[in-house]
Amino acid sequence: MIPSQNKIFCWQGYLYFFVLGGRLKVGFSHRPGLDRGFWEARGARSFELLSPQLNLGVAHFLVKNIYSRGLDQRLSPHQLKCRLEALGRRFGLSFYFQPADPPLPSPPEEELKLVREILSGRLLFLEEVERALEENGIKIGSSLPDLLHYLYLQGECELWPAVAFNDQGLPFCQRCGGREKLFKARCGACGSQFCYVCEDCLELGEARSCRALYARAEWKRNLKQYIRPHFLFPLHPAQREAYERVAEFVTQGREPRCLVWAVCGAGKTEVACGAIAAALSQGREVLYASPRREVVKEIYPRLKEAFPGIRIAALHGETSLKFPPAELVVATVHQVLRFYQRFDLVILDEVDAFPLTGDSRLYYALERCRRAYGQVLYLTATPPPKLVIEARRNTLPVVYLPARYHGYPLPEPELFVLRNFKAQGRLPFPLQKFFQLSLVADRAQVMVFVPTVELVQDTVSWLRSFFGAEGEKCVQGCYAASPEREEVLTSFRRGAFPVLVTTTVMERGVTLPRLNVLVLFADHRHVFDENTLIQLAGRAGRSSEYPRARVGFVARKISPEMAKALETIRWFNCMAREKGYLKSYI
C-alpha cells in the first residue's frame, strides 16, 4: 500500500543479525521479514532480532560503527549484543532479543525496476520518490518503503538517515551537509530523544534522523549525437574564442574544473553553450546551476531556443514539476540538493553570489550531484578570492572573456573624493555635472547605490531637494524588503522616472539600455568590496545603444577596494584591446 501523500514516512525499525557463509552480519530494517526472506534465500541462517525499535539515525550509527571496528566472526549473539550496547550507551540503549518475523517474499521485479529508474541520479525522501513516480505516470501496487528497502538490500541504492551521526556521535545533515542548525527535542514521530532536525534545509522539507534518504547514482549514458547550439545572433570574436575553449575543456575531459572569467554583460551564457553542446554530444548530462530564481527563469527559454532537440528542465521553488526527465537541467542551487551523482558537467553561474559564497552546504550539494569524474565550469565576472588565487597559481585553468558582445570597452569608474557632501547644503559640483550629463546630455537614467537600507530614504529626500518641484517625480527609492519594490522597479524599467536610489540588492540582473551608475559612500568597505563595486559598475554600458556610459564612485577617501575595482576594469579593457576585441567610439 502506498503511503498517503499527506503522511510523512517515519523510519523506525530493528537491528538484526544472521550468519552467512560462516560470517556474522548485522543489519537494520523497518520490515525485518523482508530482510530475512532476502538473506535466507542466499543461504543465511540464525536470523535474530534485537529490540527496541530505533530510528534510522541511531540504527545506522550502530551498524556503521560495529563494522568499522571489526566484526569478529567468533562473536556469540550475546557478545554482539554487548558490543552494540557499548556503542549505544550514548543513546541510553540496552537491547534484548526478540523472535524474528517470518520471512517475506521479494517484491515484484518490474516494480523494483521502475523505482530504481526513477531514483537514478537522485537523493530523495520516500514522499519525493512517490511524487516522482506520480509525475512520470508510474503506478505501483507494492509498499514503496519495502521496494526501496529491497533495492538497498540488493545494493541498488543507498539508505541514509537524513540527519546521521558521525563516528564521534555528533549529528550532521546528510542532505545539505549542515552541522550547525541541528535541533534536538523528543520527536513526536519516532519518540526518540535522539532525533535531530536540520533547520538549514527546511525549505526542501524536514530532514530528521527518523526520515530516510534514498540515493542512487545515475549509471546510464545517453546516445552520442552531434549537437550544435542555435543562436539568434552570431558570436562576437571574444565570445567565439571562449566558446571554443570551453568546448575543448569538456571534450578533452582532462581538467576537472575551469573558470570562465567574463566581464559583466559579456554574454557568458552563449559561451557556456559551447561546453553544454560538447557534453550533450558525448551523451552526458548537464546541470546549469544559478543562485537566483530570476536567472533560472531567464536562462531556461534561452537554452530551449539554443538546444531545440534536447529535453531541458527548469527547477526552482515555483516549478510544479520537480522530477521531469531531462538531459539538461537548469536549477537554483537549493534544488540541486535532490541530485546524486547525476551530472557529468556542472556549470555554476555567478559562483561568487549568495547563497554560494561562504556556504559550504551548497558546495557539498554541488559536489554530490556530480558524477565521479564529472567536470565543473564556473562562470562569473567577479570570482571569489579562492578561485583567483588558484587561477594565479595556474592550478585552475581560466578562460577570459574581456569584452562585451557590442565590442566597446567597459566604462571606467570616475572616483570623486568628497567629504561630508550631504552636509554642504547643495549638490557638490562633481555630482551636479554627473547628473546634468546623464539626464540632460545623455538622456540616460541613473542608479544611485547606497550601502544601507536606512540611507535609501535619506538619500532620496536629499536628491529630491535639488530637483525642485519635480523632485518626487524624478527620484524614487527601493530596497529588498520594501513593499513597493516590484512596482518601483517596473516603473524604472519603463523609464517612468530617471533616478533610482537603491541598495546592492540590485547589483545583478538589471539591464537597461541607457543607464549610468553612481555609488555613494563607496568607501563603505563592509558592503562595497571589490567584487560588489565591479558588479555595480557592470550595470552601465551594457547595450550597444549607449556603450559609453558613466560610472562614479563617491567617497571620503579612495579605499583599497575602489582602487582594485578600477584596476581590474582597466586590466580587462587592456586585455581586450590587446586581443583586438575592442572598437573605438569614433
Binding site: K7, I8, F183, A185, C187, G188, A189, V197, E199, C210
Partner: protein
C-alpha cells in the same frame, strides 16, 4: 550584538531588531484588548468585553496574547508551526513569557499545561509547538510544566478554516485528563499558539475545571481580531 530571531539582521540588543519589535507592538495603536478573552477590538469600541464574551462568558479566567494573528507574527508562527522551524520556540516563548509577566491578572500560576495534539497529528508533525512554548515559558518564569496529562483522544479536522459552529462541534468530548491529582486545587496556565474562536481553549478549560483545577488562564502567541 546578535542577530534578530525573526529577520536575521544584526541588532544591538534583545532577541529582536527594532524593526521587528516595532512591528509586533504596532497593533497597540489600533486595538484594545477584551479584558476576558484577550481578543482584539477596535479602539472605537468602548466596551471592556468583546461581543462574544458579553454574550457568553468563557470558562477560563482570562486569556492574553502577544498580538493579532496577522503580519509578522503570523508569518513567524507559520514558519514555526508548519515549516517546523522549532528553534523559534525560544524567541516566541520569551515573548509569551513577557505577556504573562506583564499582566497582573495572571497572578502566579502553579502549573503550565500545553494544549495537546492527537497522537496521529503529533506523529505527522513530529513536534507539538505548544509543548515547546510551554517549556520555555516555564523555564523563564520558574513555573512547573506538566505534559502528557491533558490528552486529545482523536484527531480532528484542523481548526483552521472551520466556522465557529463547526469548530465547537469538532471539539466535543475530545480532551481527557490523566492524573487529575496533579492539578487539583491548582491555578493552571494553558498555553497554545493561536486563539481564534476560543473553542479549543474552552474545551480544555472545561476538562481541567471538572478535574478540580482552581482556575484556568490562557496564554497564546496570537489571537483573533473583531
Amino acid at each position: 550584538m546578535g542577530r534578530c530571531s525573526f529577520c536575521v539582521r544584526w541588532s544591538y540588543g534583545g532577541i529582536l531588531c527594532p524593526n521587528c519589535a516595532g512591528a509586533l507592538e504596532a497593533w497597540k495603536k489600533e486595538f484594545r484588548v477584551c479584558l476576558l478573552c484577550g481578543r482584539l477590538m477596535s479602539k472605537d469600541i468602548s466596551l471592556e468585553l468583546c461581543p462574544r464574551c458579553l454574550e457568553e462568558k468563557p470558562p477560563f479566567r482570562l486569556a492574553r496574547a502577544v498580538g493579532p494573528y496577522r503580519g509578522l507574527l503570523k508569518d513567524v508562527i507559520l514558519e514555526f508551526k508548519y515549516k517546523g522551524r522549532r528553534s523559534l520556540y525560544k524567541p516566541l516563548g520569551y515573548l509569551l513569557a513577557q505577556v504573562v509577566a506583564a499582566e497582573p491578572l495572571f497572578g502566579k500560576p502553579h502549573v503550565i499545561i500545553p494544549v495537546p495534539l492527537a497522537r496521529e497529528r503529533l506523529k505527522q508533525r513530529a513536534f507539538n509547538q505548544a509543548e515547546l512554548l510551554a517549556r520555555e515559558v516555564g523555564r523563564l518564569l520558574g513555573l512547573k510544566v506538566v505534559e502528557h496529562i491533558l490528552l486529545k483522544e482523536r484527531d480532528t479536522t484542523p481548526q483552521a478554516g472551520l466556522s465557529r459552529k463547526e469548530r465547537w462541534a469538532n471539539l466535543k468530548d475530545i480532551f481527557t485528563l490523566e492524573a487529575p491529582s496533579l492539578i487539583k486545587g491548582q491555578d493552571v496556565l494553558l498555553v497554545d499558539d493561536v486563539l481564534t474562536t476560543g473553542a479549543t481553549a474552552t474545551a480544555c478549560t472545561i476538562v481541567l475545571l471538572q478535574a478540580g483545577a482552581r482556575s484556568v488562564s490562557v496564554a497564546t502567541l496570537a489571537t483573533g481580531v473583531f
